[in-house]
Point group: none
Amino acid sequence: MGESVRERLSASLTTASKADRVLANFMLSELSSLPFETAASLASKVNVSEPTVGRFCRTVGYKSFKDLKDHLKQDIGQKPWLVSDRLHDLRDRAKAGEDQLAAGLELEISALVAIYELARSEEWARVVRRLATTQRVYAAGFQTERGMAQILVNQLQYLRDGVQMLDLAGGNFAELLASDPKQSCLVIFEARRYSRLSFELTKTAKAAGIPVTLVTDPFCDWGRDLVDEMFVVPTEFNQFWESTAQMASLANLLVNGVFLELGPKVEARMESVTQLYSQFTGYVGKPVNRTS
Amino acid sequence: MGESVRERLSASLTTASKADRVLANFMLSELSSLPFETAASLASKVNVSEPTVGRFCRTVGYKSFKDLKDHLKQDIGQKPWLVSDRLHDLRDRAKAGEDQLAAGLELEISALVAIYELARSEEWARVVRRLATTQRVYAAGFQTERGMAQILVNQLQYLRDGVQMLDLAGGNFAELLASDPKQSCLVIFEARRYSRLSFELTKTAKAAGIPVTLVTDPFCDWGRDLVDEMFVVPTEFNQFWESTAQMASLANLLVNGVFLELGPKVEARMESVTQLYSQFTGYVGKPVNRTS
DNA sequence: CAATATTTGTAAGTTTTCTTACAAATAGTC
DNA sequence: GACTATTTGTAAGAAAACTTACAAATATTG
């Protein structure tokens, strides 16, 4: 046997048992962080028992998980694999002008940093509390930001009732605008070129007394004095146009905040949403659950 | 203390005793193979005793050699994207365990690095080419990943014709599955718990000869041997559940790739899409454009 | 060059990681 | 649908990795 760890893992995929396949797949996906894992840590991540990890390594031809790691050392060779080295590598390429894209990486990283700073602000806490407690939560996004609203909504729905996307499908925004302003709030994702809808929606919602949170790019000049909170997410990463990608990260952090705010009581709901999905659609590996 | 492993080791060089200096030097020069070492193996390599290794790690501020290795894992080294010292603050809090979140920042950063590396791969180029040239491009995502598909679709639509979301609204996926496989391709976003739909859709699409690209988390064990390309995006950022946020970044990079592939001819289309939006919806600052 | 302080190693613990034995669960077969 | 074979988990034991206590060696200081 002279193949590399990667090759052996791949080869095992065809023959291996269920647990082994899960392991092999995970290892392949996370090859570069394997050296930091231990049989036990791996086991808990993929939900198998510790001995299964050891046994699997033996079936693919190593003495133990430790032994597998030692071989990994060989075939990682000298390409950079520590995050810091990889980052350096990308940065060097960017400097050398070899890699247009890589130049954007650092910008994207600083956008992330900015978001994590936002998440520590007073305003953030306020929004999170509102998203956790207001009876009806609406999110909107137009053009390319529609997906961001979708992400927020889909996730929040796992945690609580009364969350929905707002769009112009019905021709107006009556769902929100003709509702009790005390029991509603709105989150809008927006970026250049700013849709007239965001603006009109915000104005009308504010006039009705509905709290509005705006997540937008650094160029937005219409929102600041109109909305309750404005979270500015950097969007220029050397790409051909603005990338609002990091807004997804912001949305996830918001959801995480709401989770922490709501506490253990969300578990019941998450459980039941999962069970409903299982019933109507089903998950991989399990048959559709017919609420037996 | 908020410095990286490398920084701490370097700093120790000036003050440390003879054995410690030897250790620090060795570690610095072999930083990337440290995770494979153990206190004992290191000790014998530099001819000191095992406890000396442990003690040294403690003098530079780690609990043990193991602890030092663990920090190496997340260590991203120099941070040129830091415009202020505010991140230090974040990091310190993370170290002190006050701020669960801040620890997630570094994980999220390394996910980004991973994505930018993906964007350099053979497979990536292949997918970009396909997304640029195939007549009909479909994207799907279920549960919380629906928004990711949405993001990809909404952006691609600015660049080219024939791009659409795929969902179960019609009860089947006939749009794609009953179409000419030579002229279609599919991108699926997926993460735990894996929807049965992704799996079935992939299987059927493959059987029909339609190329499938899967963007998923490291735990996915059903796709690897089924799809044409599998992009694995790290998703564990210390949040209460997996965050697929960085998939948005991947989607944006894909779109950017397609833009570069298509070249200047996209401008006309972008212009006309913008103009259509202006006509039917309008932008902030300008009245609805009535195709005067 | 004592006398003291610091550094380092040895040997015996402690904890962590991995393995083995066996039983329970799951999948395959007639 | 019982029977067998395979896979997987539990619990206890072996091995490895790391720590502590203390003594020996090496610096440092007056």
